[in-house]
């Protein structure tokens, strides 16, 4: 599996993502600069965290119009796994690949700590190696992770099991229904505020994030096999 890690000016989790895939998962990975226009040849796309374009205007608002974004949207439409973490989640929201928007944390503080997440849906290509309702430990680091959507959108998310992760215990940012991660209707685009790439090695305090990348790899192997035999 060959994975692209998109690099925006101001990204600061791109290297963590790269090493989680290269060393944690042991798979091919390449950085792709935001001004590139193609993701041909990649099997999965990661949009890492950071402060793309200094969070000017709104988090993710300017990155959404970067040269690489039409290729990201194309990859999403082709059904390739697309994962946006933290600022990457904000970019996916701004791009309209996921519904809703981010507000400033309800207490206005930037929070950087390891939190407990509940796996609400383990029947996704991102979470198949977790147990349903499993509690995992993944770090968060954000000032605008207060997920907002209107009632109709929330109902759609719930009815279609598109809420993948919620915060367990205290809601750290005021996010609606304690939402920490959601996916698109097709199930191949996941946005999450917590950083699985920072929890991909026990040395980092938790390796609970590694199974997310392993789940993606399993999905890729199964679909590659299915394509080969069909």
């Amino acid at each position: 599996m060959k994975t692209a890690v998109i690099v925006f000016p101001g990204a600061n989790c791109d290297q963590d993502m790269y090493y989680a895939i290269k060393d944690g998962l042991g798979e091919d990975v390449e950085y792709v600069w935001h001004a590139e226009t193609s993701l041909d040849g990649f099997d999965a796309v990661m949009i890492p965290g950071g402060f793309s374009y200094g969070d000017y205007l709104r988090s993710g608002a300017i990155a959404r119009f970067a040269g690489i974004m039409p290729a990201v949207i194309k990859a999403a439409q082709e059904g390739k796994p697309v994962l946006g973490v933290c600022n990457g989640f904000q970019i996916l929201l701004e791009a309209g690949l996921l519904p809703g928007a981010m507000l400033k944390n309800s207490h206005l503080k930037f929070i950087c700590e390891t939190v407990r997440l509940k796996v609400e849906n383990n029947e996704t290509l991102f979470t198949s190696l977790y147990k349903k309702d499993e509690i995992i430990r993944i770090p968060i680091a954000h000032g605008e992770g207060n997920y907002y959507c209107d009632d109709a959108t929330l109902k759609t998310l719930k009815d279609n099991h598109r809420i993948v992760f919620t915060y367990h215990g205290e809601n750290p940012n005021g996010s609606r229904e304690a939402i920490a991660g959601i996916m698109n209707r097709a199930g191949n685009v996941l946005g999450m505020m917590p950083h699985p790439e920072r929890a991909a090695d026990a040395l980092l305090g938790s390796d609970d994030g590694l199974r997310l990348f392993q789940s993606i790899l399993n999905h890729w192997r199964e679909s590659a096999h299915a394509a080969y035999t069909s």
């Binding site: 809703g100 907002y148 209107d150």
Partner: protein, 83 residues
């Protein structure tokens, strides 16, 4: 040239934690009359005159300046900017 003043505000249904913090501060400063504070953005644009500046500004606001999931916008177009 036209000068356009764009005002972006959070929708009424959206809580504004910044506004709440400022209101709390104003109450602490003994301004109990303040009943609500909402924080928004103000953006100035200068545009070449075209047939339909308003349509272009609408498009710019919808695509980039405002996130219409959480924000509303309005704008004022002012006549000639002398440069």
């Amino acid at each position: 040239m036209k000068k356009v003043k764009v005002f972006i505000t959070l929708k009424e249904s959206v809580l504004d934690p910044q506004g709440q913090a400022v209101m709390q501060s104003l109450h602490n400063m003994d301004y109990p009359n303040v009943k609500d504070v909402r924080i928004g953005k103000y953006i100035e644009l200068e545009l070449e005159d075209t047939a339909d500046v308003a349509a272009e500004v609408d498009e710019i606001c919808d695509k980039l300046l405002a996130n219409t999931v959480i924000e509303n916008y309005r704008y004022e177009i002012e006549e000639e900017v002398h440069s």
